[in-house]
């Protein structure tokens, strides 16, 4: 170890690995990972979300999983919870769509209307 900078760089890299163990406040993205969700392709969505959140070093965003959200025909799906905002449910997701949601909704605060359950039901 030659310098503090070297140490801090190592810390930054290592922190990504362990960050999820902090108790998350802020934004929660909950992916439906029941059998139905997984068979519809929820795993790549989950991993895309995890990677995107890390890549953008988003603070206070946790990606977590839940069981059956209750609308199997709309899988894969996930929900975004933010303090003071109504829950937004995104349906028929895939990896690319998930990344767009992170970019537009999580980072810029603009809900991607066309993917939401509301848009689909109409």
């Amino acid at each position: 170890m030659k310098s503090l900078e070297e140490l801090r760089k190592l810390r930054k890299d290592s922190l990504d690995q362990v960050d999820m163990r902090r108790s998350g406040k802020g934004t929660r993205i909950v992916v439906g990972m029941a059998t139905c969700g997984i068979s519809a392709g929820a795993r790549p969505v989950m991993m895309a979300l995890v990677e995107e959140v890390k890549k953008r070093t988003l603070q206070d965003v946790t990606v977590t999983q839940t069981g059956c959200i209750g609308a199997c025909r709309l899988e894969p799906m996930f929900e975004v919870y933010r303090a003071g905002e109504e829950k937004v449910t995104y349906v028929h997701m895939d990896g690319e769509k998930a990344k767009r949601v992170v970019a537009e909704h999580i980072v810029n605060g603009k809900v991607v209307q066309e993917y939401t359950i509301g848009a689909y039901e109409k």
Binding site: M1, K2, S14, D16, V18, S23, M33, R43, V63
Partner: protein, 598 residues
């Protein structure tokens, strides 16, 4: 760097390992592999989570699901439900973490709510065998800053300003100790860490070493820089194989990364350290005895002065601190002396780790701010006394401490309050006793311990404690006299005043404090030949409660010496106390609770 969607933290503390947490870890790894989740879920073996009562414990993140008292076969359910389907297995969760059907964050569970984790902050959070995880949580940052940015004097000043006092028992101001060693003259100096945690019922140092070994390395390096040493020794008792193993791994990793060795952080500072094993002698927790032991001698204390700061290991100036003391230092450097001194009471700053055990619901390890009351520790964090029994006393400070009765349960915990109550902080053992514990017996238990562990060097401790034990034996056997009670007190005071080291000077405390607070129990043993708690065998009498006896004869059938008489279905049974050997068999056998002892 690999990313995972789930982290499965398995407690690898001694308590959980003893109840098979390693098999649980294996099973997780196995099933994750089989379910093809290898790239998504990661198993991390951590140090102690603290709530040993609920062990073995597993926490799954990011949900923070706190699974407790797991069996190996439960792993199958967790993998197939939680990891594969994303459904938390509510039935296996620690029951207090569920409220109104909803899972709470573990930080909101009663046991953790009042805790403030400084020394234990990484325990149960990081994998102690991976240096990067320690670094991720600010590890070695303090050492880096100290070496590149601060003078030794500035480091000592921060430690002084923080108000940190020795966590091993005495409570001597840590900054002063550092100052003395820094100012001592010598071409070679040493820093040493006392990890010879010998107090029965105390396991906080072990948990730090098992859960966060790097913090000790970092802190000792900081101390070495401050006092001008280049070599460190960690003296660990041999009964802690897991701790020894993890610390050795940590030392090797730190060496590989250049955080130990020559020119650390490219400065002139060089530091190396090694582990020395104890070999089962309680007295080696005393600093001068520990020094003798490191040198390869019998662990007998030396007279002080000269203090170790002047003449320590191999007669060189030596700084000796305890594990928990060291564990606080990097945080003090990073967050400042004011932050640390804002926690706690006027004269006792910061937090203290306690090992809570005995008759308590949440056995385990807790870290609370100084000034928390005993009641909060025992009832709010500890969850109270099991089986609806009444609280009788709490023993703090191990064989050097005393028993504090219910009347003082609202006392805020700090060094000075505990001494005033005739006990002491000690290393932090906190054993709760209920109405079924006899205080004479407890005093005898501790005296028995000191008699066996006395090194034999000085007469007051070697012979005095033995004589005290004999008197207590007499009292417990029902042959004690009033003179024995006065003699006990006089002898106790002599031993306190005349012994060479801390072991002897504090050995009478368990007796003095119980005499002070529970004289009525001693008197019952002496005058009435009765043990109110029903523990001292010689004083017990078993009796049939006539009104409750259903004349079934089960007790008579169980009695190994045939001293219970009666006629089945006709007369109530009767125990011949002259012949009774007090084996308890009848009491255990009676289906109607019709037999009592007292």
């Amino acid at each position: 760097m690999e990313l995972y969607r789930s982290h499965i933290l398995v407690c690898g503390g001694t308590g959980c390992v003893s109840s098979d947490s390693l098999k649980i870890e294996e099973r997780f790894i196995d099933l994750i592999e089989k379910n093809d989740l290898k790239n998504e879920a990661k198993v991390v073996k951590t140090g102690c989570f603290g709530l040993c009562e609920a062990g073995p414990i597993v926490i799954v993140y990011p949900e923070g699901a706190f699974y407790s008292q797991l069996k190996v076969e439960d792993v199958d359910t967790i993998v197939s439900e939680h990891l594969v389907k994303g459904r938390i297995v509510t039935d296996l969760l620690y029951k207090e973490s569920i409220q109104e059907g909803e899972m709470q964050s573990i930080n909101d569970v009663g046991f953790y709510k009042k805790q403030e984790r400084v020394a234990l902050r990484n325990c149960g959070v990081i994998n102690p065998e991976v240096i990067e995880e320690y670094i991720a949580y600010d590890g070695y940052e303090a050492l880096g800053r100290v070496l590149t940015d601060m003078t030794p004097e500035e480091v000592i000043q921060i430690v002084k300003d923080s108000g940190l006092r020795g966590r091993g028992g005495g409570g001597f101001p840590t900054g002063l100790k550092w100052d003395f060693t820094a100012k001592a003259e010598g071409d070679q100096k040493y820093v040493a860490c006392n990890a010879d945690e010998g107090d029965p019922g105390a396991f906080m140092d072990r948990s730090v070493l098992e859960g966060d070994p790097h913090v000790i390395i970092e802190s000792m390096a900081i101390a070495a820089y401050a006092v001008g040493a280049n070599k460190g020794y960690v003296y660990i008792r041999a009964e802690y194989p897991i701790a020894v193993n993890r610390l050795q791994i940590a030392i090797d990793q730190a060496k590989d990364m250049g955080l130990l060795g020559e020119n650390i952080f490219d400065t002139d500072f060089s530091f190396d350290m090694e582990i020395r094993l104890g070999a089962g002698a309680f007295v080696c927790g005393e600093e001068t005895a520990l020094i003798n032991s490191i040198e390869g001698k019998r662990g007998m204390p030396r007279p002080r002065p000269p203090f170790p700061a002047v003449k320590g290991i191999f007669n060189k100036p030596t700084l000796l601190n305890n594990v928990e003391t060291y564990a606080n230092v990097p945080q003090i450097i990073l967050r400042g002396a004011e932050w640390f001194s804002s926690i706690g009471t006027e004269k006792s700053k910061g937090t203290k780790v306690f090992a809570l055990g005995g008759k308590i619901n949440n056995t385990g390890l807790l870290e609370i701010p100084m000034g928390t009351t005993l009641r909060e520790a025992i009832y709010d964090v500890g969850g109270g006394i099991p089986n609806g029994k009444a609280f009788k006393a709490v023993q703090t400070g191990g064989p050097s401490g005393g028993c504090i009765p219910a009347a003082h349960i609202d006392t805020p915990i700090d060094y000075d309050n505990l001494i005033e109550l005739g006990s002491m902080m000690g290393s932090g053992g906190m054993i709760v006793m209920d109405e079924d514990n006899c205080m004479v017996d407890i005093a005898r238990f501790f005296l028995d311990f000191t008699v066996e562990e006395s090194c034999g060097k000085c007469t007051p401790c070697r012979d005095g404690t033995k004589r005290m034990l004999e008197m207590l034996d007499k009292i417990a056997a029902g042959t004690g006299t009033v003179e024995d009670l006065t003699k006990l007190q006089t002898l106790a005071k002599t031993i306190k005043n005349a012994s060479l080291c801390g072991l002897g000077q504090t050995a009478p405390n368990p007796v003095l404090s119980t005499l002070h607070y529970f004289m009525d129990e001693y008197e019952a043993h002496v005058h009435e030949k009765r043990c109110p708690a029903g523990v001292c065998k010689a004083l017990l009498n078993y009796m049939v409660i006539d009104e409750k006896c259903k004349k079934c004869g089960i007790c008579a059938a169980k009695c190994p010496v045939n001293c219970i008489s009666g006629t089945k279905g006709k007369t109530v049974y009767h125990i011949d106390t002259e012949q009774c050997i007090k084996c308890n068999a009848c009491l255990e056998a009676c289906p109607f609770d019709a037999i009592k002892k007292g």
